[in-house]
C-alpha cells in the first residue's frame, strides 16, 4: 500500500501546473469564452505538441503514452484549477475511454493515433431530451438516438442534447438503441465522423461559458458496418463504464477548481482591509476558509483513491468486483467533489463581497462551472442514491 505520488507523477503535476497557469490566464479564458468553439485552437495545438496530454491514456500500441487514470486525474486537477477551455475533457475524459473499451481493432487503429497526435478531437453523445427528466438521467434511459440495420450497414436517427464539444468534435461516438426497443440490451455504439451526411450540429449557449454544450440532430445518417463499435455485446455496460470514468475525470477537475477558489479567497482576504484590519483576521471568515480546506483535502483523497481503483479496473475489466469498486469510488468522488466545489465557489463569492459579484473578477466563472459540473452526470443526491442502492437494496 502506498498512497502517494511517484516522482514521475510529481513531474507531470509540476509541468502541468506551470504550463497551464502560464497559458490559461484569466484573459485567455475570457477570450476563449467569447468564441463559438469555446477554445483557442492554437493553444490546444501547443498543449498537444509540447505536453502531449491528449495522448496520456492512449495505449502505446496506438501511439499514445499509455499512462493511467492517476496521471489523467493529475492533469485534470490542474486544468480545473485554471478552468482551461479545451476539448480535453470530451476527447480524453470521454472519447478515448470509449474507444479503448469499446472500439473495434480497426477503429482503434484508425482514431487513437490521430487523437494521440493531436490532429483529431472527439466526444461521446448519448444524451437525448430525456436526460433532463426527473432532475437528470444519465444512463440508458437518456438514450434517444435510434439505430436500424440497412442493407449495407446502419441508419441513425435522433436528437442529442448537452453533448460536450459536440459542435466542434471531429469524431462523434454515439450510443443508440434499436428502433422501437426500449430495453438496454439493444444499445449499440457507433463511431461517426462529424462530417457524415445527415448530421446537423448546433452550439447551445450555456451559463457556464468555459465549456461548450451542443445539440446534434441525426437524420437518416447512414453508416457502413465498420462504424459499429465494440467487441462488447452489451452496449449499456459500455455506457456505465464510460460514465463511471467520466465522473472521476469531472471530480478531478472539480477538486482542482475548489482548491483554486480557496486560494483566491485567502489571497483576497489577506489583502482586503476593513475596520482597520485584514478581513482574513476575522474568525468567522477563517473558519469558513478552514471548512473549504477540509473539503478540498477530502476531495483530493476521494479523487486519487478513485483514480487508483479505475486504474486497477482497467487492468482487469471483467472482474465484477472491480466493476463495482469503480462504480462506488466514482460515485463517491463525484458526490463529494460536486458538493465541495459548489460550496467553495459559493463561499468564495461571499468572502469577496461586492467584487465577487462582478463580471470582472473570476470567482463567478468558478461558480458557474461548479453548477454545470455538479449537474452533468448527476448531482450529489443522485450519486448518493446510487451508493444507497448498493448498500441498502
Amino acid at each position: 500500500m502506498e498512497f502517494r505520488f511517484s516522482d514521475e507523477q510529481k513531474m507531470i503535476r509540476e509541468s502541468a501546473r506551470t504550463f497551464l497557469h502560464e497559458v490559461s490566464t484569466s484573459a485567455a479564458v475570457r477570450q476563449a469564452m467569447a468564441t463559438e468553439s469555446g477554445y483557442d485552437p492554437a493553444l490546444w495545438q501547443r498543449i498537444c505538441e509540447e505536453l502531449c496530454f491528449q495522448a496520456i491514456t492512449v495505449p502505446e500500441a496506438y501511439g499514445g503514452m499509455g499512462l493511467g487514470q492517476v496521471e489523467l486525474a493529475i492533469v485534470l486537477e490542474q486544468m480545473g484549477q485554471v478552468l482551461l477551455c479545451s476539448p480535453f475533457f470530451s476527447t480524453v475524459g470521454l472519447a478515448v475511454n470509449a474507444l479503448v473499451l469499446g472500439g473495434t481493432e480497426t477503429q482503434k487503429q484508425q482514431y487513437l493515433p490521430e487523437i494521440a497526435a493531436g490532429s483529431l478531437t472527439a466526444t461521446v453523445g448519448w444524451t437525448g431530451a430525456a436526460t433532463a427528466h426527473s432532475g437528470g438521467q444519465w444512463g440508458c434511459e437518456a438514450i434517444s438516438v435510434e439505430w436500424q440495420e440497412t442493407e449495407d450497414g446502419y441508419c441513425l436517427n435522433g436528437d442529442l442534447r448537452y453533448v460536450i464539444d459536440g459542435h466542434t468534435a471531429d469524431l462523434l461516438i454515439i450510443a443508440a438503441r434499436g428502433k422501437d426497443c426500449k430495453e438496454g440490451d439493444t444499445v449499440a455504439w457507433f463511431a461517426v465522423p462529424a462530417t457524415a451526411v445527415g448530421i446537423e450540429r448546433e452550439w447551445q449557449p450555456s451559463m457556464d461559458q468555459t465549456r461548450r454544450l451542443a445539440r446534434i440532430i441525426l437524420r437518416n445518417v447512414s453508416l457502413p458496418d465498420s462504424a459499429r463499435m465494440t467487441a462488447q455485446t452489451d452496449g449499456s455496460k459500455l455506457l456505465t463504464q464510460i460514465v463511471d470514468l467520466a465522473k472521476l475525470a469531472l471530480a478531478a477537475e472539480q477538486m482542482g477548481a475548489a482548491q483554486k477558489v480557496l486560494d483566491m479567497s485567502v489571497a483576497y482576504m489577506q489583502e482586503r482591509v476593513q475596520f482597520g484590519r485584514p478581513i482574513a483576521s476575522y474568525q468567522s471568515l477563517k473558519h469558513k476558509a478552514a471548512d473549504m480546506m477540509l473539503k478540498c483535502e477530502v476531495s483530493r483523497s476521494a479523487v486519487y483513491y478513485a483514480a487508483c481503483v479505475a486504474q486497477e479496473y482497467l487492468a482487469e475489466c471483467n472482474s465484477q468486483q472491480a466493476v463495482l469498486a469503480l462504480r462506488e469510488a466514482a460515485a463517491m468522488a463525484k458526490a463529494y467533489c460536486s458538493d465541495t466545489l459548489f460550496y467553495n465557489a459559493g463561499s468564495a463569492i461571499q468572502l469577496h463581497g461586492g467584487v465577487g459579484f462582478t463580471w470582472e473578477y473570476d470567482v463567478h466563472l468558478y461558480f458557474k462551472r461548479a453548477k454545470a459540473s455538479e449537474l452533468y452526470l448527476g448531482a450529489a443526491p443522485a450519486q448518493r442514491e446510487l451508493i444507497a442502492s448498493m448498500l441498502l437494496d
Binding site: 500500500m1 492517476v70 474568525q283 451508493i387 441498502l392
Partner: protein, 395 residues
C-alpha cells in the same frame, strides 16, 4: 500509487486474525465490541486481563522499535493490526494512553534510565496512564495551566500542586503525565515541565465527574504536594513535549478507530434494512453520506500515513475536524433511523443502549483533543497562513 498490500503483509494479517480468533474466547468473548469511547467504564477488570493477554502474545507496542521492546512493525502492518483488531470486535484498549501516547513520547524525549523504568510495564499491560493537561482555567487555552511544580531542596524531588480536570480514566490509572509550571513567574508556553506522577500516593485525590451519559469516565484530580517520580527533558521543555505527544494521537490507531466506526455504521445499516428506514429517501441520502464520509476518511488517513518525511501533509491538519464531525452526525443518524424506539433505554434507571451511548458520547468528540473551533483556527493559521487570533489580557 498502490492500494494493495504485499504478500508478507497479508501473511501478517492472517497471523493476527488467527490469534484474535483463538484468544478472543472464553472469559474474553463477552468483551467483544465493548469498552470503546462511551463504554470505557465497562468491564475494566476483564479488559485489564485482556491487555495482559495481548502483551503475552506480543501484540502490545507493535509500532515501537525493537530495542524498546516493541515489535518494530511497519506502518502497513500497524494499519493491518488495527483493522483486524477492530474487525474482530476486540475490546477497547485500557492501555491505549500508555501505548499510543506515553510510550512514543518517552522513546522520543526521555533518558535511557527513564525509558527502562516505564516502558516495560506499558508493554506488559500492567501500568495504566492518564493525561493531566486540562485545568479549570486551561481548556482550549492549554498554555494557561496553573499547576505548579517546585523542586524540594531536601531530596531534590519535584512536588506538584494544583488541579487538573476532565482527566479520563484517572480513577483506573497508575500514572499520570502532568503539565505543570516549573517557573512560577512564567506565563504561556514558557516555563512548563512534563512530569510523570504516580496516582498511588497521599498527595493525589481523584474525584469522578458524572457525564451527561450518567457514567463517569473522567475526573477531577487534585495534587497536594504530590511527588513527581520523573521530569522528562528539562524544566521549560514541557510545552514542546506536550505538543509532540498530541501529535502521536493522530497516528495509525486512527485506522482502528475507523474500523470501529464501520462496525457502528454496519449496525445502523442493519437496523435500517430491518425496520424500513432503508426505504425512506432522506434517510437513504444520509446513510449514503455517512458511508461516503467514512470511506473518504479512510483514504485520507492512508494519504496521511503514506507520508515518508516526518513532516505531515495538509490532510493531517483536517483529520480531527473531519472524523469528529462525521462521528457526531453518525450518532444523530442512528437515532433517526431507529425512530421513536431510539428513546427506549436498555434498562432503568439510566442504562443506555450502545447506539444511545454513541449518540450522546459523540457530542464530546468535537470538544476533547482540541475543539472543532480550535481545529478551524489551526487549519486557517497553519494550513492557509491566515492571521493568528488576538490574545486578551485576562489570563
Amino acid at each position: 500509487m498502490k492500494l494493495t498490500f504485499t504478500v508478507e503483509d497479508e501473511a501478517f494479517r492472517a497471523e493476527i486474525a488467527q490469534w484474535l480468533r483463538t484468544n478472543l474466547t472464553g472469559e474474553f468473548a463477552a468483551l467483544k465490541f465493548r469498552g470503546g469511547p462511551g463504554d470505557e467504564h465497562m468491564f475494566t477488570a476483564e479488559r485489564q486481563r485482556w491487555e495482559k493477554r495481548l502483551a503475552a502474545g506480543g501484540w502490545t507496542g507493535i509500532g515501537w522499535p525493537l530495542k524498546h521492546g516493541g515489535r518494530g512493525c511497519s506502518i502497513e502492518q500497524q494499519v493491518i493490526f488495527h483493522e483486524e483488531y477492530a474487525r474482530a470486535g476486540a475490546p477497547g484498549r485500557v492501555g491505549h494512553i500508555g501505548e499510543g501516547l506515553v510510550g512514543p513520547t518517552l522513546i522520543a524525549f526521555a533518558d535511557p534510565e527513564q525509558q527502562a523504568k516505564y516502558l516495560p510495564a506499558i508493554l506488559a499491560g500492567t501500568d495504566l496512564w492518564c493525561q493531566g493537561y486540562s485545568e479549570p482555567g486551561a481548556g482550549s487555552d492549554l498554555a494557561n495551566v496553573k499547576t505548579r511544580a517546585r523542586r524540594e531542596n531536601a531530596d531534590n524531588t519535584w512536588r506538584i500542586n494544583g488541579q487538573k480536570v476532565w482527566t479520563s480514566l484517572a480513577h483506573e490509572s497508575d500514572w499520570c503525565f502532568v503539565l505543570a509550571r516549573t517557573d512560577s513567574e512564567s506565563v504561556g508556553h514558557k516555563g512548563l515541565g512534563f512530569f510523570l506522577v504516580s496516582m498511588h500516593q497521599p498527595g493525589v485525590t481523584v474525584r469522578p465527574i458524572e457525564q451527561l451519559t450518567g457514567t463517569s469516565e473522567f475526573n477531577e484530580v487534585f495534587f497536594d504536594d504530590a511527588v513527581a517520580a520523573d521530569l522528562i527533558g528539562e524544566p521549560g521543555d514541557g510545552w514542546k513535549i506536550a505538543m509532540a505527544l498530541l501529535g502521536f494521537e493522530r497516528g495509525v490507531s486512527t485506522l482502528g478507530q475507523q474500523m470501529q466506526f464501520q462496525n457502528e455504521l454496519d449496525e445502523i445499516v442493519r437496523i435500517a434494512k430491518s425496520n424500513g428506514a432503508a426505504r425512506d429517501p432522506l434517510l437513504r441520502q444520509r446513510i449514503a453520506e455517512a458511508h461516503i464520509g467514512l470511506r473518504l476518511m479512510r483514504y485520507n488517513a492512508m494519504r496521511m500515513l503514506s507520508h515518508t518525511s516526518t513532516e505531515s501533509g495538509p490532510e493531517a491538519l483536517v483529520y480531527k475536524l473531519h472524523w469528529s464531525s462525521w462521528h457526531r452526525n453518525l450518532g444523530a443518524l442512528a437515532m433517526d433511523v431507529l425512530g421513536p424506539e431510539a428513546e427506549i433505554l436498555e434498562s432503568g434507571p439510566y442504562n443506555l443502549t450502545r447506539l444511545q451511548s454513541l449518540f450522546l458520547f459523540t457530542r464530546s468528540d468535537t470538544i476533547y483533543g482540541g475543539t472543532s473551533q480550535i481545529q478551524r483556527n489551526i487549519i486557517a493559521e497553519r494550513g492557509l497562513g491566515m492571521p493568528k487570533e488576538a490574545k486578551g489580557n485576562l489570563r
